[in-house]
Structures are given as C-alpha cells and as structure tokens.
C-alpha cells in the first residue's frame, strides 16, 4: 500500500474534510440551540395563557 503520487497535493481533500467537519458539528450545535430557544418560547407562551 505505498502512498499514491497525488498524496502530496491532497490539500483539497483535507479542506473538504474539515469543511465537512465544521459544517456538521457546528451546524448541528446551532440548530440545537435555536430549536431549544424556540421550544422555550412556545412553553412560555402556553404558561402565560394557562
């Protein structure tokens, strides 16, 4: 399994990986927080009405 010639200029793959990493982890975190705030807002609305 000798390393392939194009291993040296593999920068695009590396960037792709990390971009994917940032997108998924941070994206999920952002969605999670926004979702939590939204649910809290609904709860507050219902509490006010009850």
């Amino acid at each position: 399994m000798s390393p392939y010639p194009e291993a040296t200029n593999a920068m695009p793959y590396l960037i792709a990986c990390y971009a994917l990493g940032v997108l998924s982890i941070f994206g999920y975190a952002v969605w999670l927080c926004r979702h939590r705030i939204q649910v809290n807002r609904y709860l507050a609305a219902i509490d006010k009405r009850a």
Partner: protein, 230 residues
Amino acid sequence: MTERKSKFTLANSLTVLLAMLLGQWMLAWLWVPVDEAQGDVYRVIYLHVPAAFASFLSAGVLLIGSLLALRSKDEHWLNLSRAAAEVGLLFTLLTLATGSIWGKPTWGVWWTWDARLTTSFLLALMYGGWILLFGAIPQGPSRTRSCSILGVMIAADVPIIYKSVTWWRTLHQPQTILRTGGSTMDSDMLCVLLSGIAIMALVTVNMILVRRETLRLEQELEEKSLGGAS
C-alpha cells in the same frame, strides 16, 4: 415553570467547548509537523479519529440510557438514549465521510472495506434503525422497553462487529498505513490527537445533554398544549 437559568449555562458551555475544538484544529493545522509518508493529508487524523471515538462514546451513552430505562421503567431515560442515538449518528456519518475522503488520496479509491470504516458504516445503520424504531412505536411503556432492549443489543454488538471486521480485514489486507494513536507517532502529534479526542468527547456529551433536554421540553410542550386544548 422550567428553571430557565441552569439550561442557559448548559448551552453556553457548548459554545465554549466548540471554541476549544476550533483552537485544537488550528493547532493540528499549523503547529504539528508534516508527516513524512503522507504529507499534509494525514492531518485528517485530528478529525477522523476523534469523530470515530465520539460515535463509540455515544454508543456507550445509549447503553447507559437503555439500561437505566429498562431498570427503572421510567420514560425520561429514553430521551437520553434518543439524544445519544442522534448525536451518534451525526458523528458516525462524519467519520464515514472523512474516512472515505481521506481514502481517495491515500488509497486512490473512495471506499474500501477497511475495518474501521465498515464498523462505522454498520454503526450508522444501527443508529438509524434505532431512531426509526423510536418513531415507529407510539409513546408508552412498550416503546421504552423495545427501544431500550435494542439499545443494549446495539451496544453489545459494537465490540463484536469491530472484532470480527478487524479480524476479517487483517486477513486480507496488511495493517493499513494509518498509524492512528500508535506509539510510533512522535510526541507532539500524539498529544494534539489525544487532546482532540478529549475535547470531542466533551462536545459530544454536552450535545447529548442539550439534545436530551430539548426532547424533554418538547414532551412537556406536547402535554401542556394537549392539556390546554382539550
């Protein structure tokens, strides 16, 4: 009234942890020396291995949640399992994606039945299956029981899969050149990698807890709105 104060710090700590994660990645890119065999591409290690570790960690949390739910027959533990399955799925898919993208330059092919990739692939299927089962059974004691049992089965199956797949792979392919966490890595590479795994673990657990909490709030919301509506 849900005590709003403590929730906020949980979410806050998530942002702190994510900042640390970013810092760790900066280190991985700039400070750590280039690997002589693979050149720059090996730096994916600092994302691929922690993500894989996170997916196995979520399987552990899923096991804990399932066992507690089975023993105490209390539905709230199911939220923990549900959160663990979701976060686990996210990290397993991430591991798969980075693994195959990394495979392209090093092995010249998008997918090989490498032991770790196959295990992650199966783990992703199992997480997906678990979430589907969670959705397929209406809320109630039978759902808690069934999902917890499946949770235990998945957690029991992970080591078996890993063992058999690694055994199968080593028979057909000499140990791949990825020196992941092996002692052959020089010290600063290793310490960055280990710190990366530690931070990723914290991020995972934090995400699971926040996700569990949103699930609990959603349940509360449903009960209250239903209660109010009738």
